[in-house]
Symmetry: C2
Subunit: 275 residues, 2 copies
């Protein structure tokens, strides 16, 4: 299938089609497909434009593209089905069975259920949570741990900041993060300011060899990036977590999405924006 | 359908099932469904646990739950299909047609194509882009505009920071952001340091009434949050963008996902992590 193109076509952002598509395509190993996202296809005119682009790709590739689409509007979907392509539409597959199960018709209107910047509680939650994560990053700033949903702890470069921000943006979760430092390991105690919030703590750890590599990129040849230092810190952090019964995960093989999802699951946190 | 529960069941994070599910459910207006996410269902034992939970929900609700699942493994999917529920599985619907089109079987193995924290270029891109966004936020810090993929401009509280972070985490895009300030409006010129990078600029704007509300929450009764000031800033920013031919969008009705996706589309930016 080298030379084949996969098109993600959507009446909204295309994110759902992309996510679905990558899940599906990952099941066909060694596949080298080009991908093209065509978002915001909301009118009959847009749909004809998409068909022209798809047909052009088919001519260029000498093989019909695969189109994975999320198009709610019947007329627009009908037009895209007319392209020289193999089209799988998500609403085609799922809306009819769900209508039958629920015993009522669906709206077939695009853009329902989106969060908006304006006056939307779910959206405000996400922005507030992002501001919270930024203001409570790396054990600095506000240190407003009373209002945290979760407080991530771990050694430097264990992924605390991206995870905090992702949890805020994706789920509206208020995640603070605090580094575990040499002084904490020497005292064999949690940072004092975290002790009242022990039940909100969650640990991240990384395999020493990988962490050393990450730190080497940042500060080549430093003590901070040395094998001995990295091993000492990782071992001491795990020891601290064990003695304080802090749940933790090894993020070495995890994506940011997976780290976030595992934390929500383990800490029984509600997905604010998805409820 | 009040009282009905929707379960998102997945062998990974559950994000795809949640996204799909909310797209679908939004088509059934006025629906008040509880949602439960059951992620990381990776063994036969997990699957039996999920079935027990679903059956318990069915008993409690007096109505069978709707299960939207993304389960690659045939054995696990088979077990979940045995629950007292209406089950729609994404791989059930799409893998077989795609196998037929591609003329080869798929792997049916969970977790392929995930990005991992370790040694994965796509993941490193996202972390590097997140660090970039944090270091180049609000016109401060590094001001490393040479390495920006895009530079967001707009008045205070127009959504620049969450959008920059989202673009980094979701797409590995390096987005800096710079506020447009009173001095820029007085001089009727872009900040000098942005002038060499005019073709990377993208503007965000918000309707004055909504922006005033957002600023009121932040600094009640201030000049910053006054109707006159907000209207002046929004008008001046739009004027500056128009005279400099900077593309822009009104984010008042947009989610963060939608803002990011529209920027990628308009600026023809490659989705680093999705390619």
């Amino acid at each position: 299938m080298s030379g084949r193109t996969v098109c993600f076509v959507s009446d909204r952002t295309g994110l759902t089609a992309e996510t679905l598509g990558h899940s599906l395509l990952s099941q066909f190993g060694g596949l080298e497909a080009r991908t093209v996202t065509m978002p915001f296809v909301t009118s009959v005119q847009d749909a004809h434009g998409v068909v022209a682009r798809i047909n052009e790709i088919a001519r260029r590739d000498g093989e019909r593209p695969i189109v994975l689409s999320t198009l709610v509007d019947d007329a627009i979907r009908g037009i895209v089905h007319g392209a020289d392509a193999f089209v799988l539409d998500f609403f085609d597959a799922f809306l009819a069975p769900l209508e039958a199960e629920l015993g009522r018709p669906s709206a077939h209107v695009s853009g329902l259920g989106m969060h908006s910047w304006a006056g939307d509680a779910a959206h405000s939650d996400r922005v507030a949570a992002t501001n919270y994560a930024l203001a409570n990053d790396d054990g600095a700033g506000q240190r407003d741990y009373r209002n945290a949903d979760v407080i991530l702890v771990g050694v430097s470069r264990s992924g605390k900041t991206p995870t905090s921000l992702y949890m805020a943006l994706q789920y509206g979760i208020r995640a603070a993060n605090v580094p575990l430092l040499e002084e904490d390991f020497e005292q064999r105690e949690l940072p004092r300011e975290l002790q009242p919030y022990r039940n909100k703590l969650f640990g991240l750890t990384v395999r020493p060899a990988r962490l050393q590599q990450i730190r080497q990129e940042r500060r080549p040849g430093s003590r901070y990036a040395s094998a001995g230092q990295v091993e000492f810190e990782v071992r001491s952090a795990l020891d601290l977590m064990a003695r304080n019964q802090i749940p933790w995960i090894d993020v070495t093989e995890c994506s940011v999405e997976e780290i976030a999802s595992r934390i929500l699951d383990r800490m029984k946190l509600a997905r604010h924006i998805r409820a």
